[in-house]
């Protein structure tokens, strides 16, 4: 491999990678704003300027590829001077509103200003200000904070496939806006907030909820569809506050769709059932686990049962249930269910050209590989149904069968069930899911199950071992 010299270190590099990436591999960080590994290179923020021997002027590291024997200096006096000047220019019109900005704490502008800028501003003139138009339900814009890196414009153009952000006017008056000031249309709008290096584009959903330094990140996998995008769940004190994409070049690159991003809301929703309940004439009676289980077993006893497993369960849970039913409920007929219209992996396909898949559950392909059959119609003679699901699979019509539910249910589900035993959602359990291409990925536990909810293995153990209430 060819070699170049960065800050006096000999560095081997793959031809074609730019200086920022090559330097990053050996732990030398070059500050930048407009560069993003998933987007095209425009070199317009000028923050990544580096000095290259035999070149008269500073070069931008994002748009320069190293060549054999190139000598690059990222911390020379000229470079530091240029970085300081660039920072000062970028901060000329930037308001000093970090205390109310949601980006504060994870802001590139803040970090680079601290690392490379000056602590004082020499600017005394009036700052430019804008009136902000509404940008739809996902993104909140604050143009005053913008540094014109055009990452959002390029994202819409290159990734989301819709050129909805544009830069109007020129120079100091540049304004990033949607054409005609209409609302954002793309289903991937949340990414605008992630890639924005300042607080210009922030999420409505996360607005003023939490400062980012209070949040704990748990690396997990999205359960929104069979793509299995890698995500980070940000949570504090047992409440999930937001969800951001995690880089995985093989699956979702740097992005995630809005459906997956805002999917976590049901986890901490008020309408989620977190106690074992008996449903009597549409009324929910919270009971103890023992009597809930008792009632469920009584309903199931000796009857021919239809068992529906959501394809949002993990592989571990699927395997456990596969061994559980022949032993303990021999009359059961077991099927998996998930998305209406997408019963098996053959009918699962790309729903758009970016990330979304038709199957709206994460583990359809895994459940199928475990040998479960897709549910189409209740077989004749079934008297009672047992539905086990995570939070995502859509419960099919049960045609008036008495039903028992184990898993995550909302209050509006309750009318179809007689007994509901609360279980854990994807954010509350560890496990494995298999995506459409056969990648096995780990789902990690971020928070503890709320209320009296229990993990599925625990429920099954109680089902087997716990004696009926009142029995000696």
């Amino acid at each position: 491999m060819p070699k170049c010299i960065i800050d006096g270190r000999e560095v081997e590099f793959t031809p074609g990678k730019n200086i920022i990436e090559v330097a990053k591999e050996v732990g030398i960080s070059i500050p930048f704003f407009c560069y993003h590994p998933g987007l095209s290179v425009v070199a317009q923020c000028r923050m990544c300027a580096v000095e290259i021997e035999k070149m008269p002027k500073l070069q931008t590291a994002c748009s320069t590829v190293p060549t054999e024997g190139m000598v690059i200096k990222t911390k020379s006096d000229r470079v530091l001077q240029a970085q300081k000047a660039t920072m000062e220019f970028l901060l000329i019109n930037h308001p000093l509103d970090c205390p109310i900005c949601d980006k504060a704490g994870e802001c590139d502008l803040q970090d680079n200003s601290f690392g490379f800028g000056d602590a004082y501003s020499r600017y005394t003139e009036e700052r430019r200000t804008y009136m902000d138009l509404d940008m739809g339900p996902v993104i909140k814009k604050n143009m005053n904070r913008c540094i014109h890196c055009t990452r959002c414009i390029r994202f819409g153009d290159e990734i989301a496939g819709i050129r909805e952000m544009v830069a109007v006017q020129r120079g100091n008056n540049t304004e990033i806006t949607t054409s005609d000031g209409r609302a954002l249309e793309t289903d991937y709008a949340g990414n605008y907030a992630d890639i924005c290096p300042t607080g210009s584009l922030t999420l409505h959903d996360f607005r003023f909820k939490k400062r980012v330094w209070f949040l704990t990140k748990t690396a997990t996998v999205c359960e929104g569809c069979s793509r299995g995008c890698n995500i980070d769940l940000h949570h504090d004190a047992g409440v999930i506050q937001r969800c951001t994409p995690r880089e995985n070049l093989a699956i979702n690159k740097y992005w995630i769709c809005d459906e997956g991003r805002f999917n976590f809301h049901y986890v901490n929703d008020e309408s989620r059932i977190t106690d074992p309940v008996l449903v009597e004439a549409g009324h929910l009676n919270s009971v103890e686990w023992a009597s809930g289980l008792d009632q469920a077993r009584k309903l199931m006893a000796g009857k021919k049962a239809l068992v529906l497993l959501g394809s949002d369960l993990t592989q571990e849970e699927g395997k456990l249930l596969k061994e559980f039913f022949p032993k303990h409920l021999p009359n059961a007929q077991v099927f998996h269910f998930g998305t209406p219209g997408v019963s098996d992996s053959k009918s699962d396909a790309d729903a758009d050209k970016i990330l979304k898949r038709k199957s709206k559950t994460a583990n359809l392909h895994g459940m199928e590989s475990l040998g479960f059959k897709p549910f189409e119609k209740a077989p004749a003679g079934c008297e009672v149904a047992l539905v086990i699901r995570g939070g995502r699979a859509v419960v099919p019509a049960l045609n008036g069968l008495r039903a028992i539910g184990i898993g995550v249910f909302q209050k509006e589900h309750a009318k179809d069930f007689s007994v509901i035993l609360p279980g854990a959602s994807f954010a509350e359990k560890d496990g494995t899911v298999v995506n459409f291409a056969g990648h096995e990925q780990k789902v990690a536990r971020a928070i503890t199950p709320p209320g009296q909810s229990k993990l599925l293995p625990e429920v099954l153990m109680m089902w087997i071992n716990q004696k009926a209430v009142g029995a000696a």
Partner: protein, 147 residues
């Protein structure tokens, strides 16, 4: 080894020693400068830098606080609880601002961290109550201390 000090007989009966001690007491009672004050009627003046009861500064009736959460971040006792919100005249303001005074250790770091000069510690030091006190926003804004 314990050495017993020999005392002379006058010391042995203690009378003179008691009178000596009594003399010092009487001298201090009558002539020494007084260090105690008649508390509820008389008050001591504390330094302006004294760290007592909290208050939130307001400008033209609007609280200075923008709910930036820097005070709960630095608070070592974790006694400040803020919920942020938005309203027409202010982009970000504290919907809820509570100080659990029983947890507070009066270190004054909240005052130091505040970028808006909003949370302050006054010189009020009489804060004993008969119940667990949590100062809410209305109280803190109203409460301007002796400053």
């Amino acid at each position: 080894m314990l050495v017993k000090k020999k005392k002379n007989p006058l010391q042995e009966i203690y009378l003179i020693e008691i009178l000596k001690g009594l003399f010092i007491t009487i001298k201090n009672m009558l002539f020494a400068p007084k260090v105690t004050i008649q508390y509820p009627e008389q008050r001591r003046n504390y330094s302006e830098r004294f760290r007592g009861m909290h208050y939130i500064k307001a400008t033209n009736g609007v609280e200075n606080c923008t709910a930036c959460m820097l005070c709960p971040t630095v608070c070592p006792a974790e006694c400040i609880h803020i919920e942020a919100g938005e309203r027409a005249d202010k982009e970000k303001y504290p919907v809820k601002f509570e100080i659990d005074v029983l947890r507070c250790c009066f270190c004054g770091m909240c005052e130091e961290a505040c970028p808006k000069d909003a949370i302050k510690l006054s010189t009020i030091y009489e804060m004993s109550t008969t119940h667990r006190e949590v100062y809410d926003k209305a109280f803190l804004v109203e409460q301007r201390g002796s400053k």
